[in-house]
Symmetry: C3
Subunit: 235 residues, 3 copies
């Protein structure tokens, strides 16, 4: 068993989905259970999915599993978990992680066939999250903060290709606007290239563009949270 | 080794005892070590207990282990851990988790007999915590907050039977008083049944009555902490 | 795999080094990976070290590994990790924990020779941290807070021998100055010897002198952080 994180803030399904998607490529194939489940007790379905490369996904049908599964080759087979003999009964109304998802995952890990866990679902009907898209103009980018890590680094919904479209490459001075406040930053390959305290725009270890402060906490300094709009342009 | 939690707030023996009691039924029999130990270095005894179903308990004699052990069939045999050859020496005065409890548990897990760890104790003489009892009147309940989880959900010392005595069942509108402030709430089977932001009174996954806010943090909104008094009555 | 902690505050290399040094004596020999790496992406070297007693150390050459390695018998052999076939490629510029250190440690754990990981380094040229030294006068001590644990206990760069030089032994009343504020404290063998709320000066479980408050949080009460200067003298 590998415990990836217990650090997703409550109810943040999109953050959970993104962390899963960026972490699983570094995890061996197996049964991946994820639970960020504000809709527990509603009619959202508990699901188990068979993906590519021998990977299985178990969790709520709220989009949490799909960003990862879609990026890792898609879904070959999906079921709604309905088989009571593969659950911990009586099933509580508010903790399906314990009573439905973990037992289903344990059964899959022991070799139980996916189809035994419940009734088949069309993978196209699974709920998918809308990951915010950036607006990349000719001289300016409107981006969204997708994730803030424990260092306060802010991951944006941008790639280095997006930055290049407005002329931002490593070395470019950049201006940022967050919550009506403007900041100077510098595009760099790594935060060690800038002075302590400088804001840096860089490609992070998952190939997403992120904002950081060398030896500081960018989210705190910029008062930025997940979902925050960030404008960027060459200074 | 299964690591249940490192999230008990410092010195909160009762919270530790309640988490242990509600978690162990989902854990396989084995040697359970728990350390919330503000009295380390005083004359409180280090103890090892043999319970029912092949379960052992190791920790300080401050009540931490007893709520769980009593609920899971009681204690068959108890010793004060005094055998130095089963300790890590020299024993520090402030970290018996490392020097006494973990080594004793490791020896038990390896098959050492309980009696070898020290001198026998009468299980009746072990220290037991007083778990606060609710006052259930004909129309009103005076309850106590026992535990607040990381979602801000507040577990009370109530069962659904207590609520029924004052006429509160799923669907009933409820009035709450916490710290001289009053709030409206609704009794429901799950927080997904109420609107986002509503306060809900529900039976949680451990069959205790709890307060939550759908997609919110009840402890923060109600300024309620462990030990807080909560009054409830039908609205 | 034993996961020691994920609780070192970002960028605090010295805290990481001290936690490693006090924890490893309780860990079995093996391959120890540590990553507190604010200089990732700069010219600081990734290193792997062979120490005494079958211990290996892997991490950044910023002093993080050396306090532990020096205390546990010194370093027999050191390499800069340069072998790309023992890395996860492409190597990111900001997360060598994932791409260089963990893969190198995994190879060592599988029996790969240290020399295969890269080019030899002189152990004397590895970067060492300066651990602050106390000033112990004839009647007064000027100490530094090295570490604050999750209970708020403050570890100082002092031993019981330092305290004895100014006449502080268990039972002595002590005066403290932190941030221009003065406090009374008592030297004791354990915090259980003083009343709840009292500040206590004691030898902690790692044989360092620490400040604590019985059933309280000393760091919060004294507004003390890592690096804080603490003056002590007999009251």
């Amino acid at each position: 068993m590998i415990d990836i994180t217990h650090g997703i803030p409550p109810q943040h399904v999109l953050q959970g989905a993104l962390v899963l998607a960026k972490t699983l490529p570094y995890m061996p194939p197996g049964v991946h259970v994820a639970v960020v489940d504000p809709g527990v007790g509603s009619d959202r379905k508990p699901v188990a999915l068979q993906g590519a490369e021998g990977r299985f996904y178990v969790g709520p049908d709220n989009g949490l599993l799909l960003v990862a599964a879609d990026r890792l080759g898609g879904i070959e087979q999906a079921v709604e978990i309905t088989s009571e003999e593969h659950m911990l009964t009586p099933v509580s109304r508010t903790f399906h992680g314990r009573d439905i998802f973990s037992p289903a995952a344990a059964h899959l890990a022991l070799g139980v066939e996916l189809a035994e866990l419940g009734q088949s679902l069309d993978p196209e009907e699974l709920r998918r999250l809308e990951v915010p898209e950036p607006q990349v103009g000719s001289s300016r980018i409107r981006a969204t903060a997708l994730y803030v890590d424990r260092f306060g680094n802010i991951q944006l919904n941008l790639t280095s290709g997006d930055l290049e479209q407005v002329g931002i490459v490593p070395g470019t001075k950049v201006e940022l606007e967050v919550r009506f406040e403007r900041y100077f930053a510098i595009a760099a390959r790594t935060f060690a290239e800038v002075r302590p305290g400088d804001v840096v725009v860089y490609e992070d270890a998952y190939r997403a563009i992120a904002l950081a402060i060398n030896q500081g906490d960018a989210a705190h300094m910029l008062s930025a949270r997940v979902g925050e709009e960030v404008l960027l342009w060459p200074a």
